[in-house]
Amino acid sequence: MLIGEAAEARTPSPQSFRDPAGTLFEDGKRILRQVNPEDAAGLEAFLATKTAARAIGRGALVGSLRLSDHLYEHERIPFPSYPCEWPPEMLHAAGELTIELARSALEEGYGIKDATPYNVLFRGSRPVFVDVLSFESRDPRDPTWLAYGQFTRTFLLPLLANRETRIPLASIFAAQRDGLEPEAVYRLLGPLRRLLPPYLNLVSIPKWLSGRETPSTYRPKLAASAGQARFILDRILRGCARQLRSLAPARRASKWSGYIAPERTAAVSYTPSQFAQKEQLVRDALAIARPREVFDAGANQGHFSFLAAGTGASVVAIDSDEACAGAIWREASKRSLNVLPLVVDLTRPTPAMGWRNRECAPFLARARHGFDLVMMLAVLHHILVTERIPLEELFALAEELTRDYLLIEFVGSDDPCFKRIVRGRDRLYSHLTRECFEAAASARFDLVSSTRIDGMERWIYLYRRRRAIS
């Protein structure tokens, strides 16, 4: 009861205001949910269903502990992420989970009242449905899935637009919380395509029908029998699952995919033996740091993220390239590795978004001091040259991210990759020497080790932060 009173006095979580059935609170590291008295019994009944038990058992639904009549504590998902940071593979996985739970819940008399990717977070590469209040007891004769439109806007149409036009999900979800309207996608399609499936039923027909509603359109209707209503809903959900399957993202290449893959090292900059040496240096650093949480900036296809995850660490791997993050997700899912890949550019991280800039926390606020080891491998020259970020700033950011260790690869100005991106502006970067790099690092970090990769203008440094986190 005391806990319940404490929650009532607390300020609600800034992203928790849309659902009238309850409110989330953050109490330090605890996630609490206050449920309205009239919805509490319904939630309790849902949590007692086989659907909920099975999903919680396999980690697909967030664990919920009832603390008092109207107060629940949820399991905390380690690193919250948003759809604008996911590769299409992750949006697809979140959609599959949503439909799977909706179909299973339907069999037990429950419906999902909203179908948005914001109901899903990722534990490593595995999607977890976190909004338990989305499930509600449904009128047995109600044949309408009110969230169908939202499912189309936030899952199907963004996946379709991403596949057809390569528009990144970040561009869609950073600009529109509720995804894409059929009208927006219709404009991207040619006259013939508009008549072909899946464009016809996902985009064109809804577009042609929009604006034709009458006052009675939204008046809820009941089917003649519960069996008929369930049949209709099940077919609608099956249709969504089928559409989703047809939009499964294909593995695709980009200019960055395969950048550091061992079999392609000759094409990039490493020989296989140099790459093996670098791999060993990363292994040594992992053995020294023994991290529980690792951040891999510029992870490419996740080679070193997987090494870290192999030691038992949970890894957040970011890359600005959607194809790379997608490839990491595929591999991490296949090998059940605890790696969360996100499409984030470290030099332009996700800003605060949504209502009053408080609904989605900025990336750096979520990542701040969240890791025992931060890895910045083969990424320094892109940050310094392409983005023109000063060295001191880079180390300030590294200090903001790590609780303990920093593993960073110094790429000298004579390195072929460095020269490639300098594009004739050599004089501008002539000051970026190893001495200058070490001096900038020494303002915030103590050197643990530094090793040159044989025959290369590259050094791997392991640093430890000097100041304790206040």
């Binding site: 044949p143 809804p206 209709i232």
Partner: protein
């Protein structure tokens, strides 16, 4: 005679198929997500069609059982 019988059966089937459109009655509204306009109408038509196939399926099941 047989042709007339089959035509009557077809008419009955059609009537049963689209009967649910006439049987839908008002209910309480659930959820808070924006149902959209075009997508909502598309779903309504699709649901009506599915409602028809539900009766059609039942009818065919009955005929199938009787034959067996």
């Amino acid at each position: 005679m047989t042709a007339r019988k089959s035509s009557t059966r077809a008419k009955t089937t059609l009537l049963f198929a689209f009967l649910p459109l006439l049987l839908f009655t008002p209910a309480k509204a659930y959820g808070y997500a924006d149902p959209g306009t075009g997508a909502f109408l598309y779903q309504a038509f699709y649901a009506a069609f599915l409602g028809g196939t539900f009766y059609l399926r039942k009818l065919l099941d009955r005929v199938w059982k009787r034959r067996r």
